[in-house]
Each structure stands twice: as structure tokens, then as C-alpha cells.
């Protein structure tokens, strides 16, 4: 086991462990903070895959943006921590069937796919290639996404004014 393997397992452990707590823990503020560690672990995994740009975008968008917004909502809601989250079990048999089928399908796909593997080489940075692709090959999609985000922004602002 090299250092990189150990780091990978560490990040994987952080991601999976905190993701488990996000869904099981009763206190909603704790769930939100465990989500922080999940997202951070995913960032680490991206870095190990030498996807540096996506890793930092993950930090900016999810940790810096969405998670903080979520925490805002959770904390500003009055006495949200006193609410007991009811998570009982309903309809065990259909859900068990669905879960087993889904899990089976996923494992089957994992095993049967012919994965392409590359030798990991230290490359300079992925950002230049991404940028060139975005403004050449996918420029229409890129612009459309920009317009979509702008519309969402205007919509949010107009709803907030009411």
C-alpha cells in the first residue's frame, strides 16, 4: 500500500461514513454538518483522480454555496432541532424488493462493464482543456446553461420581492 492508497481509503471512509450519518442521525443540524464532510471527502477523491478543476468547483459550489445556504435555512428556522424526525418503516416488502432489484442491477452493471483503465500520469491541469472544449465544441450548450442560470436568478429575485 502506497501513501496514495492510504489517502484514497481515508477519503473514501470520510465520504461513506459521513454520508451514512447524514441519513441516519436524528438531529437535522448534525446531518447538515455531516454533509459538509461528505462533500469534502468527494473533493479529496477528485483530487486523487487528478481532476483538479472539478475538485475546486466542488468546494466552491457545494461547500461554499449550497451547504452554507442549507445551514442558513436550518439555523434560521425557529426551533428546528426540537422537531423529532419521524423515520419509521412503511411498506417493507415492496421497498425491499425494489432495493434488491436495484442493487442487483447496479452490481451486474459494475461487473459486466468493460472499464477503460488509464495509467495515472501527472498532468499539468485539466482547466485549459476544459475551457477550450467549453467555448469551441460545446459553446451553444454552455451559453444555454448560462441563460438558464440567469432565468433562475431572475425568477428567484422576483419571488423574493413578493
Amino acid at each position: 500500500m502506497t501513501v496514495y492508497d492510504i489517502t484514497f481509503y481515508l477519503f473514501a471512509l470520510i465520504t461513506l461514513g459521513s454520508a451514512f450519518f447524514v441519513v441516519t442521525i436524528r438531529n437535522i443540524v448534525y446531518s447538515a454538518f455531516f454533509l459538509l464532510f461528505t462533500l469534502f471527502g468527494i473533493t479529496g477523491l477528485y483530487v486523487l483522480l487528478s481532476a483538479d478543476f472539478i475538485a475546486i468547483v466542488q468546494l466552491v459550489v457545494y461547500v461554499g454555496g449550497i451547504l452554507v445556504l442549507l445551514l442558513f435555512g436550518v439555523m434560521l428556522t425557529h426551533k428546528i432541532t426540537n422537531v423529532q424526525i419521524k423515520s419509521g418503516t412503511l411498506q417493507i416488502i415492496p421497498s425491499a424488493i425494489a432495493v434488491i432489484v436495484l442493487a442487483f442491477a447496479l452490481i451486474k452493471i459494475f461487473l459486466s462493464t468493460n472499464w477503460k483503465t488509464f495509467q495515472l500520469t501527472a498532468q499539468n491541469s485539466s482547466v485549459q482543456g476544459l475551457g477550450v472544449l467549453l467555448v469551441n465544441q460545446y459553446s451553444v450548450v454552455f451559453e444555454l446553461l448560462g441563460i438558464l442560470l440567469l432565468i433562475a436568478l431572475i425568477g428567484a429575485a422576483s419571488m423574493a420581492r413578493r
Binding site: 475546486i56 468546494l59 445551514l71
Partner: protein, 357 residues
């Protein structure tokens, strides 16, 4: 860089990583915080015609060391209704966020934690951890003042991140790289090659760029000032309203960690301004080492110039703190959304047009 050096010296990757990760803390942040805390008290005192700390050592120069000894001995108070796990994690998270920034800052051409290509973007991104840590501290303290302070702080950090990023993009269009070392190398030579003077570009574009670069510098300085919660943007810790904001409930070493993070942040944002607009570690007048033919002297001179410029901007932050009154919450948001962001966008457009020329 520094990692490779230790890797060759010790022959072990793990050991090299650990040493190069701890080096900025003991070599730079702790001594800087020691000096800056004292400096803040002395600067504020002299601005108000007082003397400041005078008892410990000559003119009180050992005051901070005495303070640290006191903080170490203090009881670590955790109130009964505090949320203990989050209360204990929060200072670590805040400090980790502000310390991670130092991984990408080039102190001199031969001292740089990690020469990553996205250094500038990394610095902007990693500060999200600080916001989460502040919110955690505010909530876990179970106190309305801390919660209000944390909310204000997070709202302010998120809002002012936008003009900062706009200016970063503006600089990026001129330099064409996010690698902090390359940005610095583009500004080598004498001080008229600094980006605030239009950078190292030949022709008319350099002179056209100067006013817009200056506007960019003013905007990024204001918004980074707001990001470190300093006066006039210190409403998260407004003493007269909120006791002291999100770290009201903390005592002893945990309080010291918040304090250390704040001072580390102050230097970090000054370092960003220096790297983007004031030539990074480059000397404004050329190097003594080059003239004398002593090549080992150059990195040391660069380290000196970098810390000199950085501390210069920290001094300006202190100066502003003791000069300007605090903004109201609505004024704070108005400054950001109604003035800084539109100006930054127009600036971005114009700089883009000029670089096309």
C-alpha cells in the same frame, strides 16, 4: 518546491509532506500573529494618542507572549447547553480553512507549498470551509448573539465573494493563468511591470489598462476587507451590538485559535492583493543578489519583499479599522450588490476588450 527539497533530504514522502505542511505555521503564521496582535494594539493606541501596552518588556513588546501564556493557562469553559462536539470542532475547522490558503501562496521563488495550476482558484474555494466553521461555532454556542453574528458573517462572506471572484477573473484575462507563481513571474522586473501599472505588456494596451486595474485593486481590497470581517465591515463581531459575535462563548486556547485564524486570514487576503496587483514576491527595484552575483541571496530578498508588502497592507487594514465607523447591515449589502458588483462587471468587460486589442 519545498516538498521536493524535504523529500530529497529525508527520503520519505510522508515525512516530507508533514514537514512542509507544518512549516508555514511555525515559521510564519505564529510569529506573524505575535507581531500583528501587538502591532494592532500599538497602532490603535498611537492613532488615539495613547501609549498602548507599556509594562511587559521595552514599550510592551513582550505583551503578546504574556497574553499567550495567560490563554494557555485559562480554563476551557464549555457551557452546559452548548453543543459539545460541534463546539469543539468549530475552531479547528475555521483555522483549517484559513491555514489551507497558505499552501498555495508563493512566499518567494523557492518557497511555495504547492505549485498547483489553480492556485488562485483554490484560495477562493477553500474559504468556504471558514464560512461553515463560523456557522458551526455560532450555532453550537447556543446563544443568540453568536448565532446572529455567525449569520451576518456568513451572509457577508458569501456576498463579498462575488466581487472578489469578478476581479480575479479580470486579472485572469490579462495574465492567462491561475498559477500564482506564473502570475508573479509575469510581473518580474521593475515596479512598472506590476499588474496595477498594466503588467508586462508592450504597447498602448498597458497604458489603457492602468485605470481599470486600479479600479480592480480598490474593489478587491474592499471586498477582501469584508471577507476577513474587519472594520468598517465588522458587523459580525460588532461589540456594541453582539458582544463579540460568533466567538463570544469561547475561552482559552479555542478562542486563541479563532484569533490566530483571523490574523492568518488578514495576511492571506493581503497576500492575494499583493500577488495579483503588486508583483508578488518581486522586488520593485531589482535585486541586490543579482548585482553582487550572489544567487542565494535572491530568494531571501524575495521573502523579505513579499512579507514587507503583505504587512504593509495589513497595516492599512489596521489603519482603516481605527479610522472608519462601522456600516449598517443594509448599507453593507447595498455596497456589495449595488456598487461593487456592477462596477466589477463593467470593469471585467472593459478589460476584456482591451486585452482583445
Amino acid at each position: 518546491m519545498i516538498y521536493e527539497y524535504f523529500s530529497n533530504l529525508t527520503g520519505s514522502e510522508v515525512l516530507a509532506s508533514i514537514i512542509s505542511a507544518f512549516l508555514p505555521l511555525f515559521l510564519f503564521i505564529l510569529p506573524f500573529a505575535l507581531i500583528a496582535v501587538l502591532l494592532e494594539r500599538k497602532v490603535s493606541a498611537h492613532m488615539q494618542d495613547r501609549l498602548g501596552p507599556m509594562r511587559v518588556g521595552y514599550h510592551g513588546i513582550l505583551q503578546t507572549i504574556a497574553d499567550i501564556l495567560k490563554l494557555i493557562q485559562k480554563e476551557d469553559i464549555i457551557a452546559d447547553q452548548n453543543d459539545k462536539p460541534l463546539f469543539n470542532i468549530a475552531p479547528v475547522l475555521v483555522f483549517a480553512g484559513s491555514y489551507a490558503v497558505f499552501a498555495a501562496i508563493p512566499f518567494s521563488s523557492s518557497y511555495l507549498g504547492s505549485n498547483i495550476d489553480l492556485g488562485l482558484f483554490f484560495i477562493v474555494g477553500i474559504s468556504g470551509l471558514v464560512v461553515a466553521g463560523i456557522l458551526m461555532a455560532g450555532w453550537a454556542s447556543n446563544n443568540k448573539y453568536t448565532l446572529l453574528g455567525a449569520m451576518r458573517s456568513a451572509a457577508q462572506l458569501i456576498s463579498y465573494e462575488i466581487p472578489t471572484i469578478m476581479i480575479v477573473v479580470t486579472v485572469l484575462m490579462v495574465t492567462g493563468t491561475l498559477n500564482l507563481k506564473e502570475i508573479t513571474e509575469l510581473q518580474s522586473g521593475y515596479f512598472w511591470n506590476w499588474l496595477i501599472f498594466g503588467g508586462n505588456i508592450a504597447g498602448i494596451a498597458k497604458y489603457l489598462l492602468i485605470p481599470f486595474m486600479f479600479v480592480g485593486f480598490v474593489i478587491i481590497y474592499i471586498s477582501t476587507l469584508a471577507e476577513v470581517n474587519r472594520t468598517p465591515f465588522d458587523i459580525p463581531e460588532a461589540e456594541s451590538e453582539l458582544v463579540s459575535g460568533y466567538h463570544t462563548e469561547y475561552s482559552g486556547m479555542k478562542f486563541a485559535m479563532f484569533f490566530l485564524a483571523e490574523y492568518a486570514n488578514m495576511f492571506a487576503v493581503s497576500a492575494i492583493v499583493v500577488l495579483l496587483f503588486f508583483g508578488g514576491y518581486h522586488s520593485p527595484f531589482g535585486y541586490l543578489g543579482n548585482t553582487l552575483g550572489l544567487s542565494w541571496l535572491v530568494p531571501i530578498e524575495q521573502l523579505f519583499w513579499f512579507t514587507f508588502k503583505g504587512i504593509g497592507f495589513v497595516l492599512v487594514q489596521m489603519w482603516l479599522r481605527w479610522t472608519l465607523p462601522r456600516l449598517r447591515v443594509d448599507q453593507l449589502m447595498a455596497v456589495c450588490w449595488k456598487y461593487l458588483i456592477p462596477i466589477a462587471f463593467v470593469n471585467l468587460l472593459i478589460v476584456g476588450l482591451i486585452t482583445l486589442l
